[in-house]
């Protein structure tokens, strides 16, 4: 059944009318036009749809609107801008990380949460934090370099 939802996304409040089982991903993409969270699997297996919900990386593809409430949602577009980039975004450009780039929401948003909580992660801690995320192009080496570079910038 269609209902009205108030969504706090990247610091702005939007109203969306949708079926309450609609996953957040589709509201962000189709109603708010925030294309950057991608559909990868719809199964919470890959990370392409990752956004921060109250600071935690969540799979927006399986989070129904009915569960969002007044949580603060931040997408990759809200993480930083070219003028005020998040260190991970800067590091991603400097390390020339992506190949197809379809996966980057998962890696950047998850790593951002890691670096917020752990300023100087070891290689093993980075890998463990990013476990389960998918990159089909095989850019893993560059991803790891970028996270370390971002950590150094933040440290």
């Amino acid at each position: 059944m269609n209902k009205k939802f108030s969504l706090n996304v990247n610091g702005e409040v939007h109203t969306v009318e949708a079926d309450d089982e609609t996953p957040l991903l589709y509201a962000l993409r189709d109603d708010l036009g925030l294309n950057n969270p991608h559909f990868g699997c719809g199964l919470a297996q890959c990370g392409a749809c990752t956004v921060h919900v109250d600071g935690k990386p969540r799979h927006s593809c399986v989070m129904p609107l009915s569960e969002v409430g007044d949580s603060k949602i931040v997408t990759l577009a809200g993480l930083g801008t070219p003028e005020h980039p998040h260190p991970l975004q800067t590091a991603y450009v400097q390390e020339q990380v992506p190949q197809c780039a379809y996966c980057i929401n998962g890696w950047i948003m998850t790593a951002a949460a890691l670096l917020r909580d752990n300023k100087k992660p070891t290689d093993a801690e980075i890998r463990t934090a990013l476990r389960g995320l998918k990159c089909r192009c095989g850019t893993h080496m560059a991803i790891l370099r970028a996270v370390k570079r971002a950590a150094a910038m933040m440290g």
Binding site: G33, G42, A48, C100
Partner: protein
Amino acid sequence: MTRMEKPAAFSRRALLQAGGALVVSVGAPLAFKTSARAAEGAAAATTKPPLTPDQLSSFIAVNADGTVSAYFGKMDMGQGLSVAIRQMVAEELDVPFARVRIFIGDTDTSVNQGGASGSTGVQNGGKQMRAAAAEARRVLVEMAGDKLGEPADQLTVKDGVISAANDAAKKVSYGELIGGQFFNVHLDWNGEMGNPLYAPGKAKPKDPKTYTIVGQPIPRDDIAPKVFAQENFCTDVKVPGMVHGRVIRPAVAGAEPVKVDESSIKNIPGARVVWDKGFLGVVADREWDAIRAAKELKVEWSQPTPPLPSQADLYDHIRKAPVRKREEGKGVGNVEDAFKNAARVIEAEYEWPFQSHSTMGPACALVEVKDGRATCWSGTQKAHFVRAGVAAMLGMPEDKVRVIWTTGPGSYGRSDADDCAADAAVLAKAVGRPVRLQYTRDQGTGWDPKAPASIHRARAALDASGNVLAYDFLSKGFSRIDVNTNGSKPWDTLAGQNLGVALKSGDAFGFPGESYGFANKRAAWETIAPLLDRASPLRSAHMRDPVGPQTCFASESFIDELAAALNVDPIAFRLRYVRDPRDIAVIKAAAEKAGWQTRVSPRRDQRGNTVSGRGIAYAQRGATRVAVIAEVDVDRASGKIWPRKFTVAHDCGQIINPDGLHHAIENNVVQATSRTLWEEVKFDSKNVTSVDWRTYPILDVTEAPEQVEIVMINHPEIAPSGAGEAASRPVPAAIANAVFDATGVRIRRAPFAPGYVKSALS
């Protein structure tokens, strides 16, 4: 409901400006303000010559503001090809790199250069763009000579300004000469379309010794827009009036709908069914509604006999299946006779499974039919071929269809992208509205065209002194062109086959790429028929380095087996027989960089649970050579292999952009490691059962190597050959050889997943 403005980049007007035939600079009015002399000259025209390969204007334009537009008929799948092409164009034209813009893969602005295909982006596509840019420079210098009253050979070009060598005040810029007009210059086209297209002019490209832009590590500028979420992928394109589509595939491969109950989705707003023979799909205004409709639609399917063998019988099936086509490579000597004289024969057989492209997101396409014309946005590797496929599905002439390649969710060959464009066209035609179709995950993994499964038999005849008398190599497997490399023909797409067009399964496999100088040598391949002759989830096609990794897995594992049997160090053994100097150079470069210690494999000095080993494999891929040394740890208890370190030596001739090349090599190595250790399409008698990332696991970041060392050998004097796929090729054998070194056990079947390795070790 809050709606954001539709991104300007996708308005019709912006599309025409950005990629259209008009040569306009952003923000500047269309202007034909050039010298009267140039306007009269044959080399310039105020209307655009036809978009054909024999016209310079089909590749290069100089804009009124002095920028250069390059129109490229291949696509950049994220390996930095567009930067490399701009470097080649800027170099030949003597303009700064930043002044060259590139328009890629739009059928309205580029000719069919074959799309992303066979690592030919630089090799063929760049060659053409280099020739066109060189010709453009020649023509511009000639025009300047007329204008300045100076002989052409007394002119120099710097940053797009042509000046007299003896009088710097006498000068004219490219923009002043032809900006806003079009080249009207005929090229010497070889008559080919696609990858072999070549159309040079009269100009000779520059001497590589003079390069200042080619060879520089210029970064990709498409990364920042992606990282800041400013670039739209093909999945993000929207047009007014668009509906969302989903297609429905049968649970049993080969089944067709016999009864569809439309009332089962009547409660879903705007949901409609599209059903024609074996084709079944739904559309709805909202994407989630289309997803729900596809899930909830009640369908009765025909009940064909389950068409697939059991997974356990796959390799037996390949062994026993009748050979449909056999082809032999260029052999040497007489292999059969040589085997009769053998003191010792060594034989081995290797197996490789079906593998899935499983792109990061399942394919997506948008098809809009409007005013007698159709437009398709697709992440395809081959926009020009997809145009033909979409036209066929819409029943429209090809010249009324435009395909705009838009960055997609990854691509490694003939993925599901071309099927998706054809399916979207069928839906759009049926519902009379623009349709955006994205496949589901299970369709992206379960129903994409697959890399073919195969077996490989190698045998060698040795004399009493341990010399190789003869080498015989045979691959037998499903064809790599059961469906072709692109979706231009209905029989090569699921939509076409579902609508009743009969499959025209082609036959192709491949030979090992190496230069072993055995006195008697034969390589052959044999293809077998597909398991299901229509709409098969196991139809086989090109996947990154088509049949290269599997063939090299077998051939380079076998070379290692020979070295071990003869108690010779694996590199020393190879160097006894490898003949090509560039092959020898990559092997030696990798060995030196890795600090290879000469000794016989396997090691026999390790006792613990975790044992380590090193292995080498090398390959040619076209004119490119790669040697890979893998250093692995094997956990004997679990069977888990960790490739701790790779050392790669890579020679693809002239390097255009070392940074792009480095990433291309590194990503190839990691993806090939994933294919080697994990990837296998599972199926039962009814259908493919690998339908997501749990059932089709790939390499996890916790399993990624610690280090990938890369030696890039540059040969500026040798024409650039491909780098998009070559480094994938030797990886499986390098890992297998390292596992043998560590454990003394030879793994002859991929993937080397823990369960299989554990059983092989025990």
